[in-house]
Amino acid sequence: MTGRALMPILVAALLIGAIPLFVSANTVLNFLVFTLIIALAAQGWNILGGYGGQFSFGHAAFFGTGAYAAAILQSRFGINAWAAFAIGIAAGAAIGWIIGYLSFRSGLRGSYFALVTLAFAEVFRILANASAITGGAAGLLVKLDVRPENFQFASRAVFVWIALALVVAVLVLTAWIERSRFGAQLVAVRENEGAAKALGVDTLKVKLTAIALSAGVTAAAGALYVQYFLYIDANIAYGTWISVEALLAPIIGGAGTVLGPLVGAVTLHGLGEITKTLAGRVPGIDLVAFGALLIVAVAFAPDGIIGLARRLRARIGGGGGA
């Protein structure tokens, strides 16, 4: 990977990573952690949806699996939080692979694939809401015991850095995918699956790898959510809200770009938070801003903010740009 590819990642990491050094307000840090968790989930979606063109409406299935795995292993089996976190990611990836195998083997594409993922997430939600191991509808609490070995920290800054480290790791992974043979095959599948197949690309294998990676990343976001909020229930874990968040951020930021999900998540939530501060007296004003931004983005920046920036740069620079 060239330095040029890593430069924007480094800049983004330094910018966000420096915030806790200058801002000690926990309001800001808490907002950052939550936004980074969303960004991470969105990065997962971006690998499959942005690069692979397989639009999932059910990334909650992976987010929830990561979250529940981390919570159940800790609270029911007393497994160390860090180990539970790793297993949560693996569990999410495995679920991703299984869902991928079932749907891609049946040749589901486009809206059919989207509907199947949506259905899987809903099935998981209902199961988690009913079964005893997930605590049913009452949800699961991870015991509050603030020690680093429990993946719980007194300072919110530490969480910012951990979430950021994960986001950066996935940024590097995505940048690598963009330049790898696997990435090229994935994009080929997105652009024209039939043609890719004719050229000898094992499309099933490519798509399965993509969904497993994608699911693993989103599961990491879920597991991180549990470590941070220490509580999970079926509607948080497998609710449609996270599926929507995971696909909105890349769409706003720029699907199929390295920085798109992060930019999208920061823009969406940042804008929401700013409107709330400016017009705090009106309840729900941040949601209005959220909706307006989405409409504007879809109407005027179909390639997201990153795509818009590229177009503007190309216009100003008189050509060039990717």
Binding site: T27, N30, F31, F34, I126, N129, A130, A137, L144, F229
Partner: protein, 407 residues
């Protein structure tokens, strides 16, 4: 197990000390005499799915704060006024946490509210980091007070307490009427309240001589309850025990009325609509004689009656959240008054030792044991002649139960 979140960091200590020092030095004597306002955090979900309940809660809290200020504020602190700092929990736990952080940054001395259990769970935990006293208004999940958080107090009864009372009173009601009810159909929403409650009923009702014909779960939101109603008709139970949120129960009650399904009683527990004046006003026929075991105000309390009139004069609904939040804020004000300080540790201590009686709930004197007010109790209500009456316990009742409904 001791959780040490209380230890302030060095930076915080220096900051507080410096601020205190600067404040004392900078303030001229005449300003010092005028007590500064005490900030009180109120968290309610006023957007999203729970917005209706959040608004009720906010209204109650606001009324109490206004009243306290009008009566001269906190006297032990030179008549200091209470200032509300409001946080919108947007019906989800993340937003609840974010609002706690915001209120903490604003320097509130305590927080009241939360409404839904997941919000309360997350928000109390976030407040515990700062030893910020937190009074839960509704949040019935018993997990809220079983985590050993010393900052968390719940004024109202929890799930275990409400269901226990509900079962006892059901037996009492049935026995007094000559045991007309033997068979039961449980209808519940598949979330926290409904599922937990149904499970409990399934184990407890047979022990008390009732036969459960079927347990019917439905999602929230549900837009059609015809199938549930038809199933009830074919099973023809003596009692229907629904535990659902507002919209679904209203729909069920209306469908049952339209289909002329008339069990001997509808006995709801912690229902979102069965003791809601809006339901009674909008669908008086469907609501007639529905019983509920829930949070409620003390109907014999003159202050409560006065408050109800005030709320209704504004064209609003006097839901249980209003008197409950009103009482919670009063409880906090009483603690600040006794502590003589807005210092968190002192307020927490005063809350823990509280024997507060000036509330408008059908509770005894307040006594917190591990954060739960053991003086709290739910009551049984019944919709009678377009009004909601308390039928149990006798100490607070303003009507006799109508049961069985169809002789």
């Amino acid at each position: 197990m001791a959780i040490d979140l209380s230890r302030p960091t060095r930076r915080q200590l220096i900051k507080t000390a410096a601020l205190g020092g600067v404040a004392t030095l900078a303030m001229p004597a005449y300003l010092r005499a005028q007590a500064p306002a005490i900030k009180v955090g109120i968290i309610q979900p006023v957007t999203g799915a729970l917005a209706q309940d959040g608004e009720f809660g906010r209204m109650g809290a606001e009324m109490a704060l206004n009243e306290i200020n009008a009566a001269g504020g906190i006297k032990s602190m030179g008549g200091a006024r209470l200032e509300m700092v409001f946080g919108d929990a947007r019906s989800n736990p993340e937003a609840g946490t974010q609002e706690v952080e915001k209120l903490q940054a604003e320097g509130v001395c305590a927080i009241v509210g939360g409404f839904a259990s997941p919000i309360c769970l997350a928000a109390t935990q976030a407040a515990a980091r700062y030893n910020l006293p937190y009074i839960v208004d509704v949040g019935v999940s018993d997990q809220i007070i079983s985590r050993g958080l010393t900052n968390t107090f719940r004024f109202a009864p929890g799930f275990g307490m409400v269901t226990g009372v509900a079962l006892d009173n059901l037996v009492k009601l049935n026995d007094a009427a000559g045991k007309p009810a033997k068979t039961v159909v449980l209808v519940h929403e598949d979330g926290l309240f409904g599922s937990g409650l149904a499970k409990l009923m399934q184990t407890e009702l047979p022990k008390r001589g009732f036969e459960i014909l079927e347990t019917i779960a439905h999602p929230t939101p549900a837009r059609d309850m015809s199938n549930v109603a038809l199933r009830i008709r074919s099973l023809n139970p003596d009692l229907v025990i629904p535990s659902s949120y507002y919209g679904e129960f209203v729909l069920l009650a209306r469908t049952m009325q339209q289909q002329r399904i008339r069990p001997k009683g509808i006995y709801a527990v912690l229902n979102g609509a069965a003791s809601n004046f809006r339901f009674v006003k909008e669908f008086p026929e469907a609501a007639a004689n529905v019983m509920d075991c829930n949070h409620w105000y003390d109907p014999r309390n003159t202050k409560a009656q006065e408050l109800k009139k005030q709320v209704e004069a504004q064209g609003k609904v006097f839901a249980y959240n209003v008197p409950l939040n009103y009482s919670c804020v009063k409880l906090l004000a009483d603690a600040i008054e006794r502590a003589g300080s807005a210092d968190r540790a002192k307020v927490t201590e005063a809350l823990a030792a509280s024997t507060f009686k000036d509330h408008i709930m059908p509770y005894g004197p307040t006594k917190f044991v591990n954060g739960q007010n053991t003086g709290a109790a739910p009551v049984n209500t019944q919709v009678q002649n377009g009004d909601i009456k308390v039928i149990f316990p006798d100490a607070f009742a303003d009507a006799k139960p109508v049961f069985p409904v169809q002789g």
